[in-house]
Structure formats: structure tokens, C-alpha cells
Symmetry: C2
Subunit: 358 residues, 2 copies
């Protein structure tokens, strides 16, 4: 029996509603295994900008650092879109990732049989898809120096960024990816653009070298443009994928659309030590905020990922995931997932179904 | 009546077979409009490496510069994959693009009703899709300086590249894109990552400023990760898209898979003045090379794009495109496009059908 300290960041839009449901489901699942959660809520994103002027107040980062895991809902909204980009809600997300050094972003794209018809791809293409994208999250072009604006030798204004990786940065994400592949179907595809970019050549060499330590894992390499195609042509060919920050941003969002149910997808962002960040892939959906219409399941599954990867409570995670499967099997859906013959529930009612299903 | 000088680069793999068909169809279509083509073949890619050690021999670049348009088939193959990346066949392609300053890459992704069932996406999602992606082709991270390998302040080996755009570079591609949108459905979506990258902020500001000169065009902006999603969720929402070199590489390949028929897609790469480069999107398919199995239609459509955009011969282009439509309507297919009830043809037999259809 233990108490786990969770820093909860409800954020903006539908964030608070889905957080409420996820915490109820988490507490109930924990209880049946003798686990307790000490929850401390803090401000992030637009809510934090409104209250403090900062998207990630120091207090919030301190609360996250003092926690065992961070559960984040969603940030951003029309209201803050006109702010200069450095002080927008997204800045809080980037600062949180680097502040916790959460370098490994795990983005599962699993097509649930109950929801496969919701995909824009044909059922036979996506049924059975189960991809884990491992994205490097605190390096690459997002943070590379130098960056900024300048005037070139012809006197023209330029904007520039640096895509850079060092060997240790690639090594640590490669280890995470090979370890993940080992727990899955033992195949890892590393995605880069090494036919054009030196940074990708270093990436490919380093991943290949680390791969020698994992002789049981089949390592392949693919160019990012080809990966964007193959994800559509034959997504089942992928098991685990590892790639840099920018390519991972693009490919994980593309892969999420294969599932046809963005409202079901969790993610984990994990450091070498200290608390990880667990959050749904979807946004803050300001258009439906406060109307009890949101789908809380990606948030519940994010809390489950938190139990599995952040708190080493696999049984609590199993129970929460089983509750989601059971609700779907019973035909319960939120508005985003509705189809003929299904029973439409509000966000809070879905919460009740999940609690009962545990 | 005129004679047009065409630099023809058959390249590697299936390149020579599809080139032969395209030139036959081009000559016949030209003839009926009193147009003649003076064809000069040169080496590029692996074929050039084998003969001269260089993927783009100086002679080839000179022949291209002296032409009215360059018709390129496909380059690369397993045989040259183990060469150091700088001296691989792809290097010839990049050198040709910069050598001709072909900064505007036009990549149509059109779903043909006859072939819509070949897409991995559902027919109702892709039927009617008609997207033109305008990709900046001689700037951005592909060519940005500084680039290379180095040792960082912690003594670790790094690889790095620079994503950089100047205002004039963005202005000229924006003009091409707005002009293209004007000839289409008058909507332009500019894709960037301006919530993270300064180079994208310069991109977005500049496209917005140029947009003021095109009040009849509806300009929108989208982040690249969202674009990768929306291309799957609702591809019909896109008309014309403009983006940088790397994002364009990824998104145009993703968009090409919507059509389900990579063997049908042409592209054009156009400079401010001088000859443009016209080539199919597909690769050199070394596995089927020399077996008369290839689909020559993307190459025929590339020659049609050459007539339309490079030689100002829209009627010749119309005839060639109509021949392709007619062959499909008659149920003729190459192996890559086969489905029940269709008649399978070899590459050369498809050439005969296209000639007859003109
Ligand atoms: C909001 C944005 C900065 C962020 C990113 O690009 O990393 C988002 O797209 C994501 O993938 O979490
Ligand atoms: C071969 C490669 C260098 C090239 C590119 O990345 O531009 C190709 O993918 C393309 O899109 O034409």
C-alpha cells in the first residue's frame, strides 16, 4: 500500500471535465489494489496565462517536480491564439517537457476493433494496427541553437532554426525504443532523412550501433517521406517506430488518424529519472468545453499509462483499460464516436459507466 | 509550328522503358498540333555513376541548361545504396534542381474515379480529391548552411542542419502558389510549424503579406502536424497547399498515397526562367526493371505537365491526358493498378493503347 503524488494540470477547454472523470476512475481502480493518490492541481496553459501571465508558472513546475507523475489534460484555445507565439499556451507545454527532461514520448496508435469503422481508411487496412511511436521530445529542431531572425549576405531578412542531435541524445532515445520493441513484437523502424541531412546520418549511425546491443530486435530504417506513405499503404507493417522530435510530431499525428478515434489516444513523456508527463493526444476542444460533451476516455487511458509507465502499477492500469474496453463493448459512446445502434453518453455519464465497469 | 528541345534523362530501373513510351505518346500528340520535339538523352543517377563516377555529370547539366525542358524518369537502385550518401544517385537529383534553380515543385494529388478503389482510404473520403501541393524545392533545411558534424561543448559528436528561409525565397514560392490557386478553386493553405520555429514565423508572415496582393484567394494557415492529420480526415478540404522543402517532401508523399495509384502521379519543378524538370513521383522500381511490367502513365502525364507548364502547349497536354483517361475508361490497366474485370497490359502495350487513344 502506498500513496502516489500526482501533479494534475487540467489546463484549458475540456481539460477540467475530462480530468474529473479520469481522477474518479483512477481513484476507484487504485482503491481495489490498495493504492492511494494524493492529487495536487496546478495551472498551466491559457488558464495559467490568465491568472499569472505565464503559461507555465514556477509554482506549477515546482509542483510537477515534487510529484511522482504529472497528469495533463489539454491546453490552448482561440482566446490566446493572438498572443505572440513565445507567450502562448503551447509554450507552457514545451517548457514543462524540458523542465522535467521528459525526452521520450510514447505515442501508441492502436486501432480498437469496436471503433475501426470510424477510420477514414478501409477496415481491412487498419484492423489490427498496433503501432508504438517513440518520439524524441526535448531535442532536435524544437530546441536547437542557433535560432532566430537575421539578415543574410544579400541584405534579406531570414528566419532560421537548427536541427541538431548529439550521440548521447540519440543513444538514450534508442535505448527506450529498443526496450519498448522488446516488450512488443520485437521490430523497430527508425525514421530519418539521412539521404539529405547530416543530423539524420548521425541519428542512423547511432541507432544502428545501439542496435548491436539488441540482437533479438529486428532494426530497419526508413526515410520520413516513405514512412508517411507506408503508414497509409500498409500500417500493419509497423511495430515500434523511433524518430526525432519534428518527424515524430508529424508521423504520430498522422498515425493517430489511422485509428479514427483521436478521442481514445493517450501519450506518455518520460525522463531518465523523476516524474513523467501523461496526457491525451487530442486538444482542448474549446468549441465544446463546459457542455459535458467531451470524450474522457483518452484522459482515462493517459492515467492508465501513468500507472503503467510512471508509477509501476500495471494492475491498476489493466483495470482502467479494461473498463474502457468494457464500456465500448457495451455499446456506449461519446458524441465523437457515435455510429448507428450505439448509446450516446455525456462526458460525466461515460465516467459513471467506466466506474461501474471496473 | 515549332521545335522544342527536350533534355531526356531516362535514369535507372524502369526509367528507360517508361521514357520510351512517353516519348512516343508525346511525339504523336505534338504532331497533330504541328509541334516537334528535338530529343537529347543524357545520363543521370546510377547510370551516370556507373559511366562517369558522378550522379550528375557536367555534360548532363549543360544539356539540360541548353534545353527548353527536362523530362526525367527515375533514379536510384539497390546497386548504389551502399555508396556514401553524397555520391549516391539522389545527389544527382538535388544537384539538378539547384543547377536549374527549379524552386517550385508542383505535385498534384488527384483521385481518378476509375482508380479510387485502389486507395487505402474509403471511397467516400477520397472520391473527388484534387489537391495541388506547391513545395519549395531549392531552399530550407535541404540546402541550409551551416551543416555537418561537430563536437559540442560537452565533447559529444553532433550532426546538424539549418532550416532557413529568406523573405525573397518565400515570396517567390508564394507567388507561384497564389497563381496556381487562382487557376484552381481559389483557396490556398500554407503549412508551417510557426508555433515552434522562427523560420516558420518568417514563412507565415511573408505568405500573409504576399496574400494581400491576391484578395480573391482565400488564404489559411495550418501547422504541419495538423496538416498530416487533415489530409486523412478530410482531404477534400484542401485545394492548393504551399509549404517548405522538408514539409513538402513529407506531405506530398502522404497525399500521393490518398490516390492509391502512385503509378499515375506526375510532378513539375519550375524555375523563374529557363527549363523546368518534369518527372513522375514514383521511383525506379529496380525489382521490375527491364521486364516490360512498369506503368508508363505517370511518365506520360509528366510529359503532359511539361507541355502545359514548361512549353506552353496546353493542347498537346490536353491530348495526352485525354489518352490516359480513355485508356482507363476502356478498362486497360498495368499490373500495379489491376483489379477484377480489368484488362492487364504490359508497359509497351499500354503505350500502344495510349497512341491509339490520341
Ligand atoms: C503544441 C505543439 C508545440 C506540440 C508539438 O509540436 O510538440 C504538439 O503538436 C504535440 O505534438 O504535442
Ligand atoms: C530522393 C530525395 C532526395 C527526394 C527529396 O527528398 O526531395 C525525393 O524524396 C523527392 O521528394 O523528390
Amino acid at each position: 500500500q502506498a500513496t502516489h503524488k500526482i501533479a494534475v494540470l487540467p489546463g484549458d477547454g475540456i481539460g477540467p471535465e475530462i480530468t474529473k472523470v479520469a481522477l474518479q476512475v483512477l481513484e476507484a481502480a487504485g482503491k481495489s489494489h490498495g493504492e492511494q493518490f494524493e492529487v495536487k492541481e496546478s495551472l498551466v496553459g491559457g488558464a495559467a496565462i490568465d491568472a499569472t501571465g505565464q503559461p507555465l508558472p514556477e509554482e506549477t513546475l515546482a509542483a510537477c517536480r515534487a510529484s511522482d507523475a504529472v497528469l495533463l489534460a489539454a491546453i490552448g484555445g482561440y482566446k490566446w491564439d493572438s498572443l505572440p507565439s513565445a507567450s502562448r499556451p503551447e509554450g507552457g507545454l514545451l517548457a514543462l517537457r524540458t523542465g522535467l527532461n521528459a525526452f521520450a514520448n510514447l505515442r501508441p496508435a492502436v486501432v480498437l476493433p469496436q471503433l475501426a469503422d470510424g477510420s477514414s481508411l478501409k477496415r481491412e487496412i487498419v484492423e489490427g494496427v498496433d503501432i508504438m511511436i517513440v518520439r524524441e521530445l526535448v531535442g532536435g529542431i524544437y530546441f536547437g541553437q542557433p535560432r532566430g531572425f537575421s539578415t543574410n549576405d544579400k541584405g534579406h531578412k531570414t528566419g532560421y532554426n537548427t536541427m541538431v542531435y548529439s550521440e548521447p541524445e540519440v543513444e538514450r532515445i534508442a535505448h527506450v525504443a529498443f526496450d519498448a520493441a522488446r516488450k512488443r513484437r520485437k521490430r523497430l523502424c527508425s525514421v530519418d532523412k539521412s539521404n539529405v541531412l547530416e543530423v539524420s546520418q548521425l541519428w542512423r549511425q547511432t541507432v544502428t550501433r545501439i542496435g548491436k546491443e539488441y540482437p533479438d530486435i529486428e532494426l530497419t530504417h526508413m526515410y520520413v517521406d516513405n514512412a508517411a506513405m507506408q503508414l497509409l499503404r500498409n500500417p500493419k507493417e509497423f511495430d515500434t517506430v523511433v524518430t526525432g522530435n519534428l518527424f515524430g510530431d508529424i508521423l504520430s499525428d498522422e498515425a493517430s488518424m489511422l485509428t479514427g478515434s483521436l478521442g481514445m489516444l493517450p501519450s506518455a513523456s518520460i525522463p531518465s529519472e523523476g516524474p513523467g508527463i501523461f496526457e491525451p493526444v487530442h486538444g482542448s476542444a474549446p468549441d465544446i468545453a463546459g457542455q459535458d460533451l467531451a470524450n474522457p476516455m483518452a484522459m482515462v487511458l493517459s492515467a492508465a499509462m501513468m500507472c503503467r509507465y510512471g508509477l509501476s502499477l500495471p494492475q491498476v492500469a489493466d483495470d482502467m483499460e479494461a473498463a474502457v474496453t468494457s464500456a465500448l463493448d457495451q455499446g456506449f459512446r461519446t458524441g465523437d464516436l457515435m455510429s448507428d445502434g450505439m448509446k450516446q453518453l455525456s462526458c460525466s455519464d461515460m465516467g459513471q459507466v467506466l466506474l461501474k465497469a471496473e
